[in-house]
Symmetry: none
């Protein structure tokens, strides 16, 4: 292992696209000026990658699991546990996690504002800590605030099941009783209902809410769990591959994926996960991590945001900022290191959502076999020597190139 090589995987979120009418039937990647991204394509080996499987539209969570080598069809247990991990709450396998909204209910428990007036921290922090640690028989509830009006809930105890219905009515109507969706989930459903009831009693008279009412704001007097999922029994990255690893990401859900897989998550100032991300700072953080770790995955979100906004011009600008970021990486590649440029999924600007198209992929190292690809884009990479691979193939390929994989057979 001592001669193992470093690996940096740069995930440019939602980067790939389809032919865009307003760009003359070209993709934003084809239109952007990106000499540094192209340098990697020209000096590396390129291909295209079905992150999950051909035609399957990846979420950001399932795609990052696949990029880290975990088959999402085996280990993905719903968004709840990964959102919880995103705010730092990593439960044990078997613990059940929920996404929650702070909401406003009337005296009959009808939801009158699903986001409690878009409450945020520090109010949510104080309210969450008032509920955190609640005992429900032999079940413990852990609560933490997340972004804006959101929170996460983890139930820890014997015989829990994720097969319970949502309390959140997803509309302005009466909150729902959590029901067991399978017989073995009765205890969990009862715990959820008891939690919602007790949380309401605590929140109703909490000083934060009394203050909000005095200020003319709606109180956050209920917490509405939804999307139950069990923490998967995932072998950590270190255990699975025998390497140390960090994740550099601004997006909470992706941090959660990294944490559940056992990567150390780096919180870098200036990396917010929005279009105002300081990409250069993120690249510097990733390169710093690469000095002390074997493997670093970094996610840069901006292109995905532009695509969800349906804005091809901004996407081109983001790609050009990614290119500046790529220059920093190019100029500081540690000796022998392997650098991967790719995306977690395509987000076509005309679609405004993730698609199942394959993503471009370049794997660079100083011993790459060079194909004749000289541009990092959807079409050029498709002609590359890597052909068409799957997301779960990436880690074995990288471990092999990094001299870190075992021979199968003699």
């Amino acid at each position: 292992m001592d001669d193992g090589r470093k690996v940096l995987v740069v995930v440019m979120d939602g980067l790939g696209d389809r032919a865009v009418k307003s760009l003359g039937q070209r993709t934003p990647l084809q239109c952007a000026n990106k000499p540094n991204l192209d340098w990697f394509a020209a000096n590396g080996t390129s291909g295209i990658m079905d992150v999950i499987s051909p035609g399957v539209r990846p979420g950001s969570d399932t795609s990052h699991l696949a990029l880290l080598g975990y088959d999402p069809f085996e280990v993905y247990t719903g968004r709840g546990p990964f959102e919880a991990a995103g705010v730092g709450l990593v439960g044990k396998p078997g613990d059940v996690a929920f996404r929650c909204n702070f909401a406003t209910v009337d005296s009959d428990m009808n939801v009158i504002d699903r986001r409690a007036g878009r409450i945020k921290t520090p109010d949510t922090t104080m309210l969450a800590s008032a509920i955190n640690g609640m005992q429900l028989g032999n079940i413990t509830a852990t609560v933490r605030e997340a972004t804006e009006h959101r929170a996460v809930l983890i139930l820890e105890g014997p015989d829990l099941s994720p097969y319970v219905s949502d309390v959140d009515p997803h509309a302005l109507s009466s909150i729902q009783s959590s029901e067991p969706l399978r017989p073995e989930a009765l205890v969990t459903a009862q715990a959820v209902n008891e939690f919602v009831h007790k949380a309401h009693e605590i929140l109703r008279d909490h000083p934060v809410n009394r203050r909000r009412i005095e200020e003319g704001l709606v109180p956050a007097n209920a917490l509405l769990p939804r999307g139950a999922g069990v923490f998967p029994n995932i072998q950590s990255f270190q255990e699975r591959y025998g390497i140390s690893a960090s994740g550099v990401a601004g997006v909470s859900l992706i941090r959660g994926i990294c944490r559940v897989c056992g990567l150390e998550v780096i919180e870098e100032t200036g990396c917010t996960g929005g279009t105002d991300t300081d990409m250069d700072a993120k690249a510097c953080a990733a390169l710093r991590e690469l000095e002390r770790k074997d493997f670093v995955l970094m996610n840069v979100k901006a292109t995905d945001v532009n695509s969800h906004d349906g804005d091809p011009r901004s996407k081109i600008e983001s790609i050009e900022r990614l290119d500046s970021m790529a220059k920093i990486i190019k100029d500081s590649i540690p000796e022998g290191a392997i650098v991967v440029l790719t995306a977690d999924h395509c987000t076509p600007v005309e679609l405004g959502d993730h698609s199942g198209d394959p993503v471009p992929l370049t794997i660079y190292s100083d011993d790459s076999i060079k194909d004749d690809v000289t541009s990092f884009d959807e079409i050029s990479c498709a002609r590359g020597a890597l052909g068409r691979i799957r997301g779960v193939n990436l880690m074995p390929i990288l471990l092999d190139k990094a001299n870190r994989s075992e021979k199968f057979g003699a």
Copy 2:
């Protein structure tokens, strides 16, 4: 689903080939003049496709199952049920279907003509209806004539099994007793033998056969079941993908595949499944279907027939007629629709049978990313941006492009 796009899949049967000596080591596709097929390649994204799996020689049935997104290794249960469905008999999951020949036997039940003098309808229609509905204890036998001397038999009842041997001796010898190939198939084997015996008694003295003997023709006095297969428990296309679909095909077996998968099968005048198929009429029928349905698969058989005949010149002519058909489609593509050109398998003319070579594939839509493929043939498509996919990948890719697939994860 309302903004879902239409999909037309054009399956040119047995289209792909190998290098043909008499064509100067080129394939019929490389030799044909086909500006319209090439237009789709030039304006779409191309690749090659292993319809089943690399090197596996597909039947027309297994290949069409794969093209419709059903893994033939999971759902293919033998040819019987799909032949039965081809003539309109779609049994329930668990019913056992057989292909049969009308045959001529002597008084010792030796087969003296396996095709009963190539008997055909209306004789077979009358004979089949004389046997149809026979009761074998609590098992009901449904019989219907098929093409030429063929018929299909479906057994319906409790505890049936497809694991029984053929009655058809596949040679001029004594008819065989159907034997259970597994212990649980004893009841089915007994029912088959009883059916064959009773059918012989009914057919022997049937007026149609008395008339045939008077005319100097051999009587069709036996029905010989073979190729038992159970109707698979297939989720219908509508249920599986949430879209409406039609199949336009002249070949009975392919109609059967479509029917079992829940596609509406269109019977179009002039579409016979032979080389005399009016391809243009078939294209018009497919385009009409596309107005009222989300998805249409059409199969055009001529090239496969030319290949089975070992006739490269005729195959080139058929390809040029396919090209005229492609012009009709090109000129009438509904807005936003996705058009797929491909084959169900290669049928090399020098081999005269299906081969396991990958087939050429072009997926066209108005937002296709354009690769540099400008000719629709085996070699040019292999350089395309789709790379090399499998038949079962096609439907997920098309559903994604049609905005009809669910995101996996968040």
